[in-house]
């Protein structure tokens, strides 16, 4: 079920009404779980088997970790839980890649190779298995004296199962994040009241989220359609670069839009999901980019992979290696293809090189060259998105060849014009954030901002009504 479908709107409204019925307050979690299962299984009910199995497995492992005092037993259950999550992810996501890398026979329908390449990829599996790992690790790491704002508790086995089902299946974030960490979500599970809803916050997130998705990403999608093989071969270099620029804007609008919708819908039910994007194209370094882009994934990778690998505590060389390993695995998390691994490696090596050159620098970067740095980081990141758009590595090479070959060819001004028109709101969105971050004393007053903000939100709402593109799947659904 897509966030931009009428079915989803109906589901949210019905769930909302039932959720806040005073007589049903005791079963609020059940209502959300039922809606989440409907959301996930809509059109493909078979998918529910895997989700329910994953919930059961993570409940069992984490419950055993919680309920025992013996460290060795805790560790055994925690390791089993992490391993089981990774096995599920590996089986469904990486079997085709393994079959191809081992050059197994895939053409014979009776062969193991054919079986492996035809395993379906359940939607959202990368997200909910990472949440499962987070749960098992968080309860294992949880200290006795942890504060109540981060405590994961189990009053009874049944209530813990219900809480875990809600944590894993909560529909606003089920299929494409933000990846919720157990220690952030469990403490929020309690009775919710209509009076506590953050209406303004939910409204703002929903308007901007739907604007980014429906108006920007869905329209850019049709303009960057040509970035597919062999269609792009006939375009001029300038058109190709413009389309890549447009794709960079599209992927931001698509995913940031999705995350904001998820945050807005969750707020309607009294849950606060973590911010997933913080104006990433303002980043002045790669490390800053990863603190601003898909924050829930980058913090997950930091907490559950980079730090356990030793982080930056084991010397310079090991730090560079850890950065590269984490980004390589982060790349493979996105998809089981060589191009995703190369994308991760590209970022990992970039981060390592950046760290090498800034390791002794104690001075804050000069503001004078901020714009140059922003453009350089944007160019690096945008170039890497090519590997997302063209997962076949040979097509990436063909694109680069076309870029060098078609320099003198006539460009398509209409195509470039439309890309500019749809990219401008994203640029303005970032420019507004830049001003907010750097204005200092020159910042406009609350009243001045208020009037313009209202007009901005109204313009976004109007654009949603009159300028939405043809509905498209969210790019991150495929991961």
């Amino acid at each position: 079920m897509l966030f931009n479908s009428f079915t989803f709107g109906a589901l949210v409204i019905v769930t909302f009404v039932l959720f806040y019925l005073p007589a049903w307050r005791r079963v609020q979690s059940y209502i959300l779980i039922a809606s989440s299962l409907l959301f996930y299984g809509y059109g493909q009910p078979g998918l529910l088997i895997l989700l329910i199995a994953s919930i059961a497995l993570n409940t069992l492992c984490s419950y055993r970790v919680l309920k025992t005092d013996r460290l060795a037993v805790k560790r055994t259950w925690a390791i089993s839980g992490v391993a089981a999550n990774l096995l599920i992810l590996g089986f469904f996501k990486y079997s085709p890649l393994v079959a191809r890398m081992l050059r197994l026979n895939v053409s014979d329908t009776e062969s193991i190779g054919h079986f492996l390449v035809t395993i379906p990829l359940p939607i959202g599996i990368s997200f909910f298995t990472f949440q499962g790992i987070s749960l098992v690790v968080d309860v294992f790491r949880q200290k006795r004296d942890v504060d109540s704002a981060h405590r994961i508790e189990a009053r009874s086995a049944w209530s813990y199962l219900v809480d875990t089902a809600l944590f894993k299946a909560f529909f606003p974030q089920l299929v494409a994040g933000p990846i919720v960490k157990a220690h952030d979500f469990y403490p929020q599970i309690r009775p919710k009241f209509l009076r506590d809803i953050n209406w303004n916050g939910a409204f703002r997130a929903l308007v901007i989220g739907y604007f980014l998705k429906l108006v920007i990403a869905d329209n850019l999608k049709d303009l960057t359609f040509w970035l597919s093989y062999p269609q792009f071969l006939g375009f001029s270099t300038l058109s190709l670069v413009s389309m890549l620029f447009g794709f960079s804007m599209q992927i931001f609008a698509d995913f940031a839009g999705y995350s904001l919708i998820a945050i807005g819908v969750a707020r309607l039910f009294g849950y606060e999901l973590m911010e997933n994007f913080n104006f990433p194209y303002l980043a002045q370094s790669l490390s800053e980019f990863w603190r601003r882009w898909h924050i829930s994934l980058s913090t997950w990778l930091k907490e559950y992979l980079y730090i356990p690998l030793g982080g930056n505590r084991r010397g310079e060389v090991r730090t560079y290696l850890n950065l590269i390993i984490v980004m390589l695995l982060g790349g493979l998390w996105h998809g089981a293809a060589v191009s995703y691994a190369v994308w991760g490696l590209f970022h990992g090596v970039g981060l390592a090189i950046e760290r090498f050159f800034t390791r002794n620098s104690t001075r804050a970067p000069s503001a004078r060259f901020a714009f140059v740095r922003i453009v350089a980081v944007f160019a690096f990141v945008t170039f890497a998105w090519l590997l997302f758009k063209l997962p076949n590595f040979r097509h990436v090479i063909a694109f680069l060849e076309a870029c060098t070959r078609n320099v003198g060819q006539a460009s398509d001004p209409v195509l470039i014009g439309y890309i500019l028109v749809y990219s401008l709101p994203v640029i303005a969105y970032h420019a507004y954030a830049w001003r907010r971050e750097h204005a200092g004393d020159a910042a406009p007053t609350r009243e001045e901002v208020g009037a313009w903000k209202s007009f901005g939100y109204a313009a976004c709402l109007t654009a949603i009504m009159i300028n939405s593109g043809s509905p498209g799947r969210f790019i991150y659904f495929q991961f």
Partner: protein, 292 residues
């Protein structure tokens, strides 16, 4: 804040609707690409005051038929990237009763465009669209803005005096000899795969159901296969659907347009070059006139 924003948005929406009433304002609105072009043509067909005499449904292959050669009698409802079932469903569900429907069968195995159909026939929104011009796809403000920026700013800044003034169609209009072998090889590769029998049976069933609806409304129809590169004609992806349609709608009982026997030149194996789309449009016009 929410009430203020909603009030402002309603005012902006009303103002834009009023603006669109100015005669000639939308003359320079261009579509942004083939997907929007599909939607605009389908919305125009549904909201037109009078039914066109002849309608063509199909894919981007029939979409390429030269408009001038077909003449004003024809409304080309063939959809780029689509299959004939989408167009047939639009004809079957709309209020219009054309005198003839030409069904291009080449891309029967492409997916039906359910999103487009959902957009066209969505309850509440579809009737509102008839009353509020701002809700029509062709009136999107960016259709003017993008065209002005592209043809004004970008064209001027880059001195692109000879560049096209309209958005690109999904296929080339002329053969690029350098690209043609790669494009044809791609088509040959995809045409080697035979369609799944269950899927093919489903499409034939849907085709039967939709033509039955046309029969019920006494709308005559005729089948057409667009000419493609000779190397593709007998490959499984082309031959099996053709065989299945012929078995269900045999020429002894149903009308088929017979193309001339000369080969046609394509840009990529599938889509006719401009000159050939003129030639074949004349064939379609002549044949439909002979049959009806």
């Amino acid at each position: 804040m929410i009430a203020r924003v909603c009030f402002l948005a309603a005012a902006l929406f009303a103002a834009y609707n009023a603006l669109l009433l100015i005669p000639g304002l939308t003359d320079n609105f261009a579509n942004q690409g083939w997907r929007q072009d599909n939607l605009i043509r389908a919305q125009d067909y549904i909201s037109a005051e009078h039914a066109p005499r002849r309608v063509i449904v199909g894919s981007s292959l029939a979409r390429r038929l030269d408009k001038q050669s077909l003449g004003d009698d024809f409304k080309n409802l063939a959809l780029s990237g689509g299959n004939p079932l989408t167009g047939l469903e639009i004809v079957a569900r709309s209020k219009h009763r054309p005198e003839l429907v030409v069904i291009e069968i080449n891309m029967l195995m492409k997916d039906e465009d359910v999103e487009l159909l959902d957009n066209l026939f969505r309850p509440v929104i579809a009737p509102l669209r008839e009353q509020l011009p701002a809700l029509r796809e062709r009136n999107q403000p960016s259709n003017l803005l993008g065209w002005v920026v592209g043809n004004g700013f970008v064209r001027g800044a880059l001195e692109l005096t000879h560049a096209p003034t309209t958005p690109r169609t999904p296929t080339l209009s002329q053969r690029d000899e350098r690209l043609f072998p790669q494009l044809l090889a791609g088509q040959q590769k995809s045409h080697r795969r035979a369609p799944k029998q269950a899927e093919l049976a489903g499409r034939i069933e849907k085709l039967r159901s939709l033509t039955a609806q046309l029969d019920a409304r006494r709308i005559p129809y005729v089948f057409l296969e667009m000419p493609v590169d000779v190397s593709l004609v007998s490959m499984p992806a082309a031959a099996e659907p053709r065989r299945a349609v012929l078995a269900s709608f045999p020429p002894e009982h149903y009308r088929w347009i017979q193309p001339d026997s000369r080969p046609y030149e394509t840009t990529d194996g599938l889509h006719l070059v401009t000159a050939e789309s003129v030639r074949f449009a004349q064939v379609v016009k002549k044949e439909t006139a002979r049959l009806y």
